[in-house]
């Protein structure tokens, strides 16, 4: 039964119909959650003792950097699905996610470096986290440029999914190696995971921000996958009927 469900859902047509039903709810609910917890975080939480008011960037920075990595994992799952079962929808997903992943990584980098000015006194530090995020950003750009260089979509999908898988194998290695390397130049940076406990009045809006941002990103992925479906399958009759 599950298999049948997956088979049905994997066809772009049913996917589009199902997703169109829920899209509006996801969008409005996550917009409400995001804006509510963002105003809560930016205006209604107490000031941090160490960092002052600049810590409020956490509510914008953490969701972006969290999602930028999970999007890559989703891409890797999609590309494995595409290579093994030849699910077309998975191939649409890979290229639909790539620009959005690049955008979130960009946000994470920019917000992190702006946050660095008041807290570290420098806007860029070659420490482990920042370097691996930068590499992730470059990888996203590489994926997009590889896909754009082919006019034949099927070939591009296949090559792209191979690259995504190889890149995904590489990501833990990059993380680990960058950690070894940064132990030499010990930087006095404050990383988020090192905080032993975060006050609940600051934690709840953060969780809300992550959930809301994730919902918005899901909406973006739905939109861009819709665009991919229309672009690739415009010759099919059901698309013409649907429009």
């Amino acid at each position: 039964m599950i298999k049948r469900f997956i088979h049905q859902f994997a066809s772009p047509k049913t996917y589009l119909f199902q997703v169109n039903k829920v899209y509006r709810y996801i969008f409005y609910i996550s917009l409400i959650i995001y804006s509510f917890s963002l105003t809560w975080g930016l205006l209604f939480t107490p000031e941090d003792f160490v960092q002052g008011n600049s810590y409020r960037i956490i509510y914008l920075h953490v969701p972006a950097s969290f999602i930028s990595q999970s999007l890559y994992a989703i891409m890797a799952i999609a590309s494995i699905t595409y290579l093994i079962w030849r699910v077309k929808l998975a191939a649409y997903f890979i290229i639909a996610i790539a620009p959005i992943g690049a955008m979130t990584t960009f946000i994470a980098l920019i917000s992190g470096s702006i946050w660095g000015i008041p807290t570290w006194g420098t806007w860029w530090q070659w420490d482990a986290r920042i370097t691996s995020t930068l590499i992730l950003f470059i990888m996203y750009l590489g994926l997009i440029s590889l896909h754009n260089s082919f006019s034949n979509y099927e070939k591009a999908d296949k090559l792209l999914s191979w690259l995504v898988i190889v890149g995904f194998v590489n990501i833990p290695i990059i993380k680990k190696s960058v950690d070894w390397w940064s132990t030499l130049h010990q930087s006095a940076s404050i990383t988020l995971t090192d905080k032993p406990s975060i006050d609940p009045s600051m934690l709840y809006p953060l969780i809300g921000c992550i959930i809301g941002f994730f919902g918005l990103i899901i909406c973006l992925v739905i939109l861009s996958s819709k665009y991919q479906i229309f672009k690739r399958e415009r010759k099919k009759s059901w698309v013409k009927e649907y429009v």
């Binding site: 590499i135 470059i138 990888m139 750009l141 590489g142 994926l143 440029s145 590889l146 260089s149 082919f150 070939k155 296949k158 090559l159 191979w162 690259l163 190889v166 890149g167 590489n170 290695i173 990059i174 680990k176 190696s177 960058v178 070894w180 390397w181 030499l184």
Partner: protein, 215 residues
């Protein structure tokens, strides 16, 4: 054995593609002391980072047209149809490239390191590191080149450069280990481990990628 010989002959006849990277590498190494104010300490300070990066770049240069000729004259299609194992052929090709470009460059890096630092033991331990790392770089860049087969090598280099960064980090760490007299062998073993994984997997991936190109 026959494939091995044929590939060797193919590369040897294309003088530009095996001599070019070696010459570029040695030119970078010769140009380096000219850019530094002539003090020995200044020279030694950043010599090894330059060495690794120029090995990386010359490997990138070496793989520039590794599949291009075979692709345009139809040899690749023929080998896929014929009985010979395609991943084996690719592994062979990479091995030949390493033998004719990677090993000489490693030897040259030993010589340059000796001439610039006058430290025989240090330079001697640079040699295995550069031999192993050049093989890893070759594999990675050949993968990038297979992805962007007829689209120019710049794209392939952009794609695969992030994959080579961990190796550079390990190399940097091992040089510091050598300079402080710590045992650098663990880093060499780590590189060998990475290499052994890469050697077994990458030819298969490349063969799938090229098949996707030819479909």
């Amino acid at each position: 054995m026959k494939i091995f010989y044929l590939e060797h002959l193919k590369l040897r006849k294309k003088t530009r593609s095996w001599l070019g990277p070696i010459l570029v590498f040695s030119l970078i190494m010769i140009a380096y002391p000219l850019t530094v104010e002539f003090l020995q300490t200044n020279l030694e300070k950043s010599f090894y980072s330059l060495l690794w990066i120029s090995i990386l770049l010359s490997m990138m240069l070496a793989t520039e047209d590794i599949f291009l000729e075979d692709f345009s004259d139809g040899t690749l299609e023929q080998t896929i149809i014929s009985n010979t194992s395609f991943p084996l052929l690719i592994a062979n090709k990479i091995f030949i490239y390493w033998l004719m470009i990677g090993v000489p460059i490693s030897f040259l890096s030993f010589l340059f390191s000796l001439s610039l630092t006058q430290d025989f033991n240090l330079s001697l331990s640079i040699f295995p590191l550069s031999v192993v790392s050049s093989y890893i770089f070759l594999n990675l860049f050949v993968f990038g080149n297979a992805l962007s087969l007829n689209k120019g090598s710049v794209l392939g280099a952009i794609i695969t450069m992030p994959l080579a960064l961990p190796v550079l980090i390990i190399l940097g760490k091992s040089v510091i280990a050598i300079e402080f007299g710590i045992n650098y062998l663990e880093f060499l073993l780590l590189l060998l481990g990475i290499l052994s994984i890469i050697i077994t997997i990458v030819p298969f991936i490349i063969s799938y990628v090229i098949k996707a190109h030819l479909e």
